[in-house]
């Protein structure tokens, strides 16, 4: 499917989503956090989109908001889409998990929780993955300070 066709199809499920190109080769879809799980299960289960391969899940600190970027590929149609979700609550950021849709998300979401402090609703085992349980703060956030371990130029 081309990017235009994908955009048309997704608009027929959930209207008023924001689409961008971001100077990249893929179509970017911005989804509000309360519609995330609905959109993701549609993208996976609909036979026309068939996005069954979640190849990259990245946490991003946008400054004013925290967010997650999902890179999806279909192994049958071989098209790629990027889904972005943001939450403006930096104190207690919560998003829905997609680990029930793609099993690989379980580990990747734990990594995001570890480094960005984003909690995922209904995640089966949301614990720190790399850092110790008593670690304070979330290192990949832009406002993280560590005078000992970080070299700032």
């Amino acid at each position: 499917m081309t990017n235009e066709a994908l955009q048309e199809l997704i608009s027929s499920w959930i209207p008023d989503l924001e689409y961008t190109e971001e100077g990249s080769q893929f179509l970017n879809v911005h989804v509000p956090s309360e519609r995330l799980h609905e959109l993701m299960s549609q993208l996976k289960n609909n036979s026309e989109t068939g996005f069954d391969y979640l190849f990259c899940l990245s946490g991003v600190d946008w400054g004013e908001a925290l967010g997650v970027v999902y890179h999806l590929e279909s192994t049958t149609h071989r098209h790629i889409i990027v889904v972005k979700v943001k939450t403006e609550d930096r104190e207690n950021p919560i998003l829905d998990t997609v680990s029930d849709i793609w099993k690989t998300a379980e580990f990747h979401e734990r990594e995001v929780f570890d480094f960005f402090g984003i909690k995922f609703n209904n995640h089966p085992n949301l614990q720190r993955l790399f850092l110790t349980d008593e670690w304070e703060g979330f290192p990949l956030r832009k406002d993280y300070v560590d005078d000992i371990n970080m070299i700032i130029k």
Partner: protein, 373 residues
């Protein structure tokens, strides 16, 4: 008459056991917390972070030339392919035209790196299941490649041969001759590998039907590389998103359908042949020309987002750059193949024995710095 009942002191009990952080079969500092009942595995929980260096955070303050140097500390056995990923990502973002000579050399060295990685894997795979000899055979052939790499760029493992815009130096005058000599040598050695290990009955009994991964699960767990191809899932980045000179060569994607440890083993052995064939197709036709195009001393990527995939020896390495137009990325994420491949370990190891877990882990071919980036 009343039948005698089994007394409570025969009751089986679940308990925890640590495998690692220092364990020869984890190939690095990986700790697995096993829940076992007797010899049967009930749960495998990886405990990570022993060598996490937060490369992604370091990238946010480094220039793009410096980032290249960090990447070969991730999957050090595919060091050159990791370097290539960053260079390709930067070059595509800048829309630089790269000379054909560079593309061909990158592909040749990339495939040699894959062979060298698979040689090491084959050696330690044999050792993990109790065959010491394979270790020396694998390292003997890998040594020839390391010598070639050393002559080319001065380093044997963490090569740093690629820079954004091309290669750091041109190839050594001996390069073509030595690679041809290696190809001829290695063609006689792969059948030896098969005679030593592949056809061995004990080895087959240890690996066939062990750690079975279905195609659906492989996709859902984000598996890639030989792990996914052993389950019949066609996912070779070199086929679907060809980069460098890979669109000019013909090769087969190696697929097996059983999804067990032996299938993953066979995929890697067949990949050795395919990589040799790619090297053979290119080695006589290295085009003349520049080995590097000029770039600015300070590389600033345009504002936007860029994604680059390459196929390392372990699977799909992705690099996701968010740039705000400065000399460092705003955010850089590495999607490492080992991390996703590790996540499926619990799924395929449960129900097996501890010895099976060792064989299964050997064919997942984990490199821990790739997981703990």
């Amino acid at each position: 008459m009343e039948t005698p009942t089994v007394h409570s002191n025969f009751k089986s009990e679940e308990y925890f056991i640590n495998m690692g952080p220092q364990h020869p079969a984890t190939h690095g500092v990986l700790r697995l917390v096993l829940t076992i009942d007797g010899e049967i595995i009930k749960k495998v929980e990886p405990d990570l972070g022993y060598i996490h260096r937060s490369i992604e955070k370091m990238c946010e303050r480094d220039s793009y030339q410096q980032i290249v140097h960090l990447t070969d500390r991730m999957d050090y056995l595919s060091a050159n392919i990791n370097n290539e990923a960053v260079c390709l990502g930067v070059e595509n973002a800048l829309q630089l035209e790269i000379p054909e000579r560079v593309k061909v050399i990158r592909t040749i060295i990339g495939e040699l790196t894959r062979i060298s990685s698979h040689c090491l894997w084959w050696g330690v795979m044999g050792m993990d299941v109790g065959a010491i000899t394979t270790y020396f055979y694998g390292f003997r052939d890998r040594e020839m490649l390391n010598d070639i790499f050393e002559e080319t760029c001065g380093a044997r493992l963490t090569m740093n041969y690629n820079v954004p815009g091309g290669l750091m130096f041109d190839i050594h005058p001996n390069f073509v001759k030595r690679v041809k000599k290696f190809v001829a040598h290695f063609k006689t050695k792969i059948p030896e590998y098969d005679r030593l290990l592949t056809g061995n009955v004990i080895f087959q009994k240890r690996t066939k039907g062990v750690g079975v991964l279905s195609k659906e699960d492989a996709i859902s767990f984000g598996a890639s590389g030989p792990v996914a191809r052993g389950s019949g899932y066609s996912c070779d980045v070199r086929k679907y998103h060809p980069y460098s000179a890979l669109d000019k060569v013909t090769f087969n994607e190696c697929l097996e359908t059983e999804g067990d440890t032996f299938a993953r083993y066979c995929v890697r052995i067949r990949e050795l042949w395919e990589s040799l064939s790619i090297v053979e197709q290119l080695i006589d036709n290295i085009p003349q020309g520049e080995h590097r195009v000029k770039t600015n001393a300070v590389i600033k990527l345009p504002k936007g987002e860029f994604y680059q995939k390459v196929e390392t020896a372990r699977g799909e390495l992705g690099m996701y750059i968010i740039s705000t137009g400065t000399k460092s990325p705003y955010r850089l994420k590495f999607r490492s193949p080992g991390f996703s491949n590790l996540s499926l370990l619990n799924h395929i190891a449960v129900g097996g024995k501890i010895g099976d877990l060792v064989a299964t882990m050997a064919t997942l071919d984990l490199v821990i710095p790739d997981i703990d980036r």
